[in-house]
């Protein structure tokens, strides 16, 4: 159990997917202007990451890995070169299904997340987490924890950034630095802050 708590802490704080691996920067920069949108997108990402990472794990271990097709009698086929294309297909399909399910089951949540769900298919944090899961050879429970932790870390970063940007409205920034430039510098400072978590484990 403690192993999973440690993995969660690591993926949320120490190796924050946005501030240490730079994944999901595009939507982070584009959608952090308002706190409400940031919160909505943050929750949508947590949701999708927690679902897609374990599914990609299953696709890899039951279909693509060398010898994974043994249950069909084809034991020496290695399809691991298809990982990129199948992961992105899983992610695109899952966001579509999640969107339809949410629309059916909870219209209120759908109205809140609505426009962000399709955008998530091309958020690199989702594919990035799936590829890290593949590279680090996580097992099934680990992939759930890692997906959830990365999502929470990403949501944490975008929500705090939107809060800072709200304050920025009142400051006088040099014209060329406005918008993207100052946001990059702020992200740098935030990333320094998150580095203080390095080495923390239970």
């Amino acid at each position: 159990m403690i192993h999973y708590v440690n993995l969660a802490i690591k993926s949320i704080f120490v190796e924050n997917i946005l501030l240490a691996f730079f994944l999901g920067m595009c939507s982070f920069l584009a959608c952090s202007k308002k706190v409400e949108t940031a919160v909505g997108l943050g929750f949508a990402v947590v949701f999708v990451l927690t679902i897609t990472t374990p599914i990609c794990w299953a696709v890899k271990n039951f279909l693509l890995k060398k010898g994974a097709l043994a249950w069909t009698g084809l034991s020496d086929i290695d399809l691991s070169f298809l990982i990129f294309i199948s992961f992105i297909a899983v992610i695109a399909a899952m966001t579509q299904i999640v969107e339809m399910l949410v629309e059916k089951l909870s219209p209120a949540l759908y109205n809140a997340l609505g426009i962000f769900l399709p955008l998530i298919a091309v958020n690199c944090a989702i594919l990035g987490a799936a590829l890290f899961m593949d590279q680090r050879n996580y097992n099934f429970p680990e992939s759930i924890v890692f997906g959830f932790g990365s999502g929470v870390g990403w949501a944490l970063a975008i929500i705090s950034m939107s809060a800072i940007r709200k304050k920025l409205d009142y400051s006088n920034i040099p014209a060329p630095l406005r918008g993207l430039g100052i946001t990059m510098l702020l992200t740098g400072l935030m990333s320094v802050g998150f580095m203080c978590f390095a080495g923390i484990r239970l």
Binding site: F21, L23, G188
Partner: protein, 211 residues
């Protein structure tokens, strides 16, 4: 009469991507990979080449198919084309430059979701003929590469004192008390550096975001 292959208009397509509408500093696309791979010049160069290739080629392919793609499923079609190209790059890297492909780790695969590629497909290739789309992809790829190479050079020289793996800062500097700036190799250094590059580029080109 058909337009000349390198007419003024077509040259402008390449130039736009390089300076006026640079994907990184102006359109805010593709930031993720540009920061992650630039700790060394070598990885930056490989990444720059890979992305330019994928952007240009996927622009051509999608532009050829643009009249047959139903608009509802276009994102899936685009992602399929792009991932096929990325798999090609990844296999070539694994076969001929194994060490570099290990260093780039997941970031080769992440070219698929690089916003520059999908962004250019949506904005340009879906409504323009193949040759123009190729030039547009090339221009944007090169604009991205230029920023990547600058970042790579600065981060490698000041972060670890080397360039392409060779020591460039003389021994005597270290003896006199010079220390490599370790922060440049870490994540925060990358953010600060890119922030400053954006600042400089926008100060020169005179572009400013409206509040």
């Amino acid at each position: 009469m058909a337009e000349a292959l390198l007419s003024k208009k077509n040259k402008k397509l390449v130039k736009d991507g390089l300076w006026d509408a640079n994907p990184l500093t102006f359109q805010v696309l593709g930031i993720c990979s540009s920061l992650a791979v630039t700790t060394q010049l070598k990885t930056s160069l490989i990444m720059a080449f890979g992305l330019t290739f994928v952007t240009a080629m996927s622009n051509v392919v999608i532009s050829l198919m643009r009249n047959y793609i139903p608009s509802k499923i276009r994102i899936i079609v685009q992602l399929t084309v792009v991932s096929a190209l990325v798999i090609t790059i990844d296999q070539i890297l694994k076969a001929y430059m194994y060490d570099a492909s290990k260093q780039l780790s997941v970031f080769v695969g992440l070219i698929i979701t690089n916003c520059i590629v999908v962004g250019r497909l949506e904005a340009f290739a879906m409504s323009n003929p193949p040759w123009k789309s190729f030039l547009d992809g090339l221009g944007n790829g090169l604009g991205y590469s230029a920023v990547l190479v600058i970042l790579g050079i600065i981060r490698e020289i000041f972060g670890s004192g080397t360039l392409l793996g060779y020591h460039v800062i003389p021994r005597s500097f270290y003896d006199a008390g010079y220390v490599n700036n370790g922060m440049l190799v870490l994540a925060p250094g990358a953010f600060f550096l890119l922030g400053c590059i954006i600042w400089i580029q926008r100060a020169i080109s005179g572009y400013a975001e409206v509040k």
